[in-house]
C-alpha cells in the first residue's frame, strides 16, 4: 500500500470515530426543535416605554417633595408624555432656586425655561439606557419565573432592541405559562380609607364626589368580590410595603384550609409594616396585586415581619403567585407578538414521518446507485453514510437544534452528495469510453469533476450562510444542517470516495465496475 494512502485512511477513520463519539448516544445529543418535540414558542415585546413612564412619575413626585422642602412654590407639575413634564407657574423670584434643584437632582434630564414654566425632558442617552435596562431586567425576571416553574432547557433571549424570544420545550399548558410570564406581579399593601362599595359614587360620598390627592380608587379582583362584599375600595395612593420588601414567599393554607401565600418581610419593610398595623388596628389593609385588590383583611393586631395573603386562590393560582413574587416584578408591560404551541403528539408524528420518509429516501437512493453504478455505487453509499454520521456529529458538537426545515436541509444535502458521486462516475465513464486506462480514468474523473462539485457546493454554502445570518428560527435550522452537510460532502464525496477507489483499484485491477 502506498504511504500516502495510510494517512488518508487514518484521517478518514479518525473523522468517523470522532463523529460517532460526539454523537453518542444520539437521543441525548441531538436537540430537537419545538416543531419536533412539542412546546411553546413565544415572541414578546417589552413595552419599555412603561419603564420611562414610571421613572417620570417618580421623578415628578421627588421634585414635588424637593420643592416643598425648599419652600419653592409652583402651581403644578404636569406630565406631558413618557419622559417629558412641565413645571408650571413658579415664582419668578425663585427661578435661580428652581434651576439649582434641577441641576443638582435631575442630571439625566434637560430643561428649558419659558416665562414662568419649565419644560423638562429626558436626555436621549438616559432614556435609551432606561429602556435597555428594562428589557434586560425583563429577560432576567422571566428567566427566573420560568426556572421556578420548572421547564427543562428553556431559551430566553433578547431579539432586536425590545423583543424577546421565549422557547419552552415540553410545555403543554400554554395559558398558565403565559400568565406566569406576563403577570406584572406588582404587589402592594395599602391602607383602606373607605369601602368596600358597589361603585365609585358611594365611596366618594364623604369626599364631595372627588378623589382626594393622596387616595385612589381600586377595583376588587372579580373572584374576591362576593367575599369582600363590594367591587371598589378607596385606598391610600402610596403603598406602605411592596413586593420589593419581600424576604420570602411560600405556598400555604389559611385557617379555612384554602390555598394561600405566606410571606416574610425584610427588616426595613417589617419596621414599616409593624408601624402601619400598630397604628391602624381595627381598620382594613388592602393587598393589591397588579392594580386589583385580592383581599382586604381587618387588622386585628400589630403584625411584625410575617403574614399571609389570602386571595381566594386555587392551588395553581397560589403556586403561580409564589413563582412570580419570588422572581420579582416586571419593570414594564409585556405584549405577545407570536405564540405557537405544538403538542407533543404532533411533534412525535412529525419525527415519525420524517424518519420514515428519510429512511425510504435513503434506501431508494442506495438501491438505485448500486443498480446503476454496481460496485462503484457501494462506494457512493459508504460516502453517503459517512456524510450522515458527520452530520449528526457536527449537530451534536455545535449543540444545534434539529427542526423540520432542518430535516429538509439534510435531504438537500443527501441530494447534493449523490449528485457529486454521479458527476464523478459519469466523468469516469466518459474518460473510460475514450479508451483511458482504469486508474487514469478514475484519476481524471475525480480531478475533472472537482471544479463543478466545488463551485456548486460553495455557491450553496454561500447562500446558506446568508440565510443563517438573516433568517429567523426555522430558516436558520435549515441553513445550519445544509452548511454542515455540504462541507461534509466536499470531504466524503471527493476525498473519501477517491480513497476507496484508490484502495480497491490497483495496477492489477482488470475491470472497472461502474
Amino acid at each position: 500500500m502506498k504511504k500516502g494512502l495510510r494517512w488518508k485512511i487514518l484521517l478518514t477513520l479518525a473523522v468517523l470515530a470522532i463523529s460517532l463519539i460526539v454523537a453518542y448516544p444520539i437521543q441525548k445529543k441531538i436537540k430537537l426543535g419545538l416543531d419536533l418535540k412539542g412546546g411553546m414558542h413565544l415572541v414578546l415585546q417589552v413595552l419599555s416605554e412603561d419603564a420611562v413612564t414610571m421613572e417620570t412619575d417618580q421623578e415628578i413626585l421627588r421634585l414635588q417633595e424637593l420643592f416643598k422642602k425648599n419652600n419653592i412654590t409652583v402651581s403644578g407639575i404636569a406630565k406631558d408624555a413618557p419622559g417629558k413634564f412641565t413645571i408650571q407657574g413658579f415664582n419668578p423670584d425663585q427661578e435661580g432656586q428652581v434651576k439649582d434643584q434641577l441641576d443638582q437632582y435631575l442630571r439625566d434630564w434637560e430643561y428649558s425655561f419659558t416665562g414662568t414654566s419649565v419644560k423638562v425632558s429626558y436626555k436621549t442617552a438616559a432614556m435609551t439606557a432606561i429602556k435597555d435596562s428594562a428589557v434586560e431586567q425583563s429577560v432576567e425576571t422571566i428567566r427566573n419565573r420560568v426556572d421556578q416553574f420548572g421547564v427543562a432547557e428553556p431559551i430566553i433571549q433578547r431579539y432586536g432592541r425590545e423583543q424577546l424570544i421565549v422557547e419552552l420545550p415540553g410545555v403543554d399548558n400554554p395559558e398558565r405559562v403565559q400568565n406566569i410570564i406576563k403577570t406584572a406581579a406588582l404587589l402592594e399593601w395599602k391602607l383602606v380609607r373607605s369601602g368596600p362599595a358597589p361603585d365609585e359614587a358611594t365611596l366618594l360620598k364623604d369626599y364631595a364626589g372627588k378623589v382626594p390627592d393622596d387616595m385612589e380608587i381600586v377595583q376588587v379582583s372579580p373572584k374576591a368580590r362576593a367575599i369582600e362584599g363590594g367591587s371598589h375600595f378607596l385606598l391610600n395612593r402610596v403603598a406602605t410595603v411592596t413586593g420589593k420588601d419581600l424576604r420570602m414567599v411560600r405556598r400555604t393554607v389559611d385557617e379555612w384550609n384554602n390555598p394561600a401565600v405566606s410571606f416574610g418581610l425584610k427588616a426595613d419593610g417589617a419596621r414599616r409594616f409593624e408601624a402601619l398595623t400598630g397604628e391602624n388596628i381595627g381598620r382594613r389593609l388592602a393587598i393589591v396585586l397588579d392594580g386589583k385588590v385580592q383581599s382586604a383583611p381587618v387588622i386585628n393586631a400589630r403584625i411584625g415581619d410575617q403574614g399571609v395573603i389570602q386571595g381566594h386562590f386555587t392551588i395553581e393560582d397560589a403556586t403561580d403567585l409564589v413563582i412570580v413574587l419570588k422572581a420579582g416584578a416586571l419593570p414594564a408591560g409585556i405584549k405577545t407578538l407570536e405564540n405557537r404551541t405544538i403538542g407533543p403528539s404532533l411533534g412525535a408524528d412529525s419525527v415519525r414521518s420524517g424518519l420514515l420518509a428519510g429512511l425510504i429516501a435513503v434506501l431508494s437512493v442506495m438501491v438505485f446507485m448500486v443498480v446503476y453504478y454496481k460496485l462503484s455505487g457501494v462506494n457512493a453509499i459508504v460516502a453517503l453514510l459517512l456524510n450522515l454520521v458527520i452530520m449528526f456529529g457536527a449537530l451534536s458538537y455545535f449543540r444545534a437544534t434539529l427542526t423540520l426545515p432542518g430535516i429538509a436541509g439534510i435531504i438537500l444535502g443527501i441530494g447534493m452528495a449523490v449528485d457529486a458521486n454521479v458527476l464523478i462516475f459519469e466523468r469516469i465513464r466518459e474518460e473510460s469510453a475514450l479508451g483511458k486506462s482504469i486508474l487514469n480514468s478514475i484519476s481524471l474523473g475525480f480531478s475533472r469533476a472537482f471544479s463543478a462539485i466545488f463551485d456548486s457546493n460553495l455557491t450553496t454554502i454561500i447562500s446558506a450562510v446568508f440565510l443563517f445570518q438573516f433568517g429567523t428560527g426555522p430558516i436558520k435550522g435549515y441553513a445550519i444542517t445544509l452548511i454542515i452537510s455540504l462541507v461534509a460532502n466536499l470531504f466524503t464525496a471527493v476525498f473519501v470516495s477517491h480513497l476507496i477507489f484508490d484502495v480497491t483499484h490497483g495496477k492489477n485491477t482488470k475491470k472497472l465496475s461502474i
Partner: protein, 398 residues
C-alpha cells in the same frame, strides 16, 4: 457494459431557446395575472398573521359537520383541511379579519377567536362532566395530571401521568398491538391495552372523562410578527441570491451570474404561480422548500456552466451556441439521474412525510422537475442573450 440511461444524445436544445423563453414568460404572466387579479397568493399564518389550529377527534367526523359547527358561531369561512388519519385530524385556519385599534388587541382577538373555534368544535361536549368536577383527560397537561394522580398514589403521580400521556400519544398499543389515533384517547380500554394499571384507570374514571377532541397545536401570529417574518424571509432570500450572483460572476463571468440568478428567479416565480393555482398557503417551511429548489437548480446550472467553461477551451472553432448545446447534451444524463434520485427522495417525503411537511414536499416535487427545465432550456440561452446585449470586449464568441 455500464448500465446507461442515456448514450450522450445530440438534441438541439438551443434551437428551442425562443420557444422556451416564450413558454416561460407565458407561464409567469399567467401566474402573475392569477396572483394579482385572480386567486391571489395565500399567505399562511406565519406571514399573514392569524390563528391555525390542528385538532384530532376521537370519533370520525366529516368536514361538513365541522363547518356547520363553525358556521353557528359565525366562522363558516375558516379553511378546514383534513390531514390524513381517515377523518380524525383537521387543520383549521380562521380567516376572519379583525379590525381593531391596536396590533396587540388584534393578536388577543385572534387568540380569543381560537378559543371560540375550539368551543364551537366541542359543542357542549363535557359540560355535564365538568359540572360534576371532572377534568378532560384529552385536554389535561402533564403537570395537572401528575398532581391529580399524586393525590391517589403519593409519590407515583409523575411516572403514572407520563405513562398515561404516552398512551394518549401512542400510534399503537403495547399489549395488543392495535393501531390507534395518536393524540387522543378514544376509549378507556386503550389505557388497559397499553399496560396502565387497573387501579390507576379506576381513579382516572372517577376523576376524569374522555373529551371528544384534543388540540394538537395552536399557533397565533400577530400582524406585527407576521410582517417581521415576511421582511426577514425576503431579506434572507435576496441577500443569498446576491451572494450567489457575486460568486458565480467571479468564478465564471458576469453573464453567467446574471443568467443563474434569472433562472433561479424564474424557478421561484413559477413555483409561486403554481401555489397560487393550487390554493396552497405560503409558510416558513415553504420558503425553505423554495430555497432548496434554488439550491438544486443553481447546482444543475453551475454543473452545466462548468462544462461550457471546459468545452470552450476544447472546442476552439465552434460558436458559443454549439458549445452550449454540446455541454447540455453531455450533462443531460447526469442531470436526469440526479434529479431522478432527488425526485425519489422528495416523493418519499410527499407520500410518507406527514402533514406538516406536505406543503414543503409539494414545492420540492414541482421544483425538482422545473429545475431541470430551467437548466436545460433557460440558463444557457440567457447567457447568450446577455452577451449579445452587452458584448464583452475580449474573448467573445458568437
Amino acid at each position: 457494459m455500464p448500465l446507461e440511461l442515456f448514450k450522450t444524445p445530440h438534441l438541439k436544445f438551443m434551437k428551442f431557446k425562443y420557444a422556451a423563453l416564450a413558454f416561460t414568460l407565458l407561464i409567469m404572466l399567467a401566474g402573475a395575472v392569477n396572483i394579482f387579479f385572480g386567486k391571489g397568493l395565500h399567505l399562511g399564518v406565519d406571514f399573514g398573521g392569524g390563528t391555525l389550529i390542528r385538532v384530532t377527534f376521537k370519533d370520525q367526523i366529516p368536514v361538513s359537520s365541522i363547518r356547520d359547527s363553525l358556521k353557528k358561531v359565525g366562522l363558516g369561512n375558516s379553511t378546514i383541511q383534513e390531514t390524513g388519519k381517515g377523518g380524525h385530524e383537521f387543520m383549521i385556519r380562521t380567516m376572519q379579519v379583525i379590525q381593531t385599534a391596536s396590533a396587540q388587541e388584534e393578536l388577543e382577538a385572534h387568540a380569543k377567536l381560537a378559543d371560540r373555534v375550539i368551543a364551537a368544535l366541542k359543542d357542549n361536549d363535557g359540560q355535564a362532566e365538568t359540572q360534576r368536577g371532572l377534568v378532560d383527560l384529552n385536554g389535561i397537561d402533564r403537570a395537572g395530571l401528575a398532581t391529580l394522580l399524586d393525590s391517589a398514589f403519593p409519590g407515583e403521580g409523575a411516572a403514572l401521568a407520563a405513562r398515561v400521556l404516552e398512551t394518549r400519544n401512542a400510534e399503537d398499543l403495547v399489549l395488543t398491538g392495535t393501531s390507534r389515533i395518536p393524540g387522543v384517547l378514544a376509549d378507556w380500554s386503550d389505557l388497559q391495552n397499553n399496560g396502565v394499571r387497573p387501579d390507576v384507570i379506576k381513579v382516572l374514571q372517577d376523576k376524569t372523562y374522555l373529551g371528544k377532541l384534543a388540540i394538537l397545536s395552536r399557533e397565533t401570529v400577530g400582524p406585527q410578527a407576521g410582517a417581521d417574518l415576511r421582511k426577514k424571509a425576503t431579506l434572507a432570500v435576496i441577500w443569498s441570491l446576491i451572494g450567489m450572483l457575486i460568486y458565480i460572476a467571479v468564478r465564471f463571468k458576469l453573464a453567467y451570474g446574471v443568467s443563474a440568478i434569472l433562472t433561479l428567479t424564474q424557478d421561484v416565480l413559477l413555483s409561486l404561480a403554481i401555489f397560487s393555482f393550487t390554493n396552497r398557503e405560503i409558510n416558513l417551511p415553504v420558503i425553505a422548500a423554495l430555497l432548496t429548489i434554488v439550491g438544486y437548480s443553481i447546482n444543475d446550472t453551475i454543473v452545466t456552466f462548468d462544462r461550457v467553461r471546459e468545452n470552450l477551451k476544447i472546442m476552439r472553432k465552434d460558436s458559443l451556441e454549439t458549445v452550449m448545446n454540446t455541454s447540455i447534451n453531455q450533462m443531460l444524463g447526469r442531470t436526469v439521474i440526479t434529479t431522478g434520485t432527488v425526485f425519489l427522495t422528495v416523493l418519499a417525503l410527499f407520500l410518507f412525510g406527514g402533514q406538516v411537511i406536505n406543503d414543503f414536499a409539494f414545492v420540492m416535487l414541482i421544483g425538482s422537475i422545473e429545475g431541470v427545465y430551467s437548466t436545460v432550456f433557460l440558463s444557457c440561452p440567457v447567457v447568450l442573450f446577455w452577451q449579445r446585449l452587452f458584448p464583452p470586449k475580449r474573448g467573445f464568441r458568437k
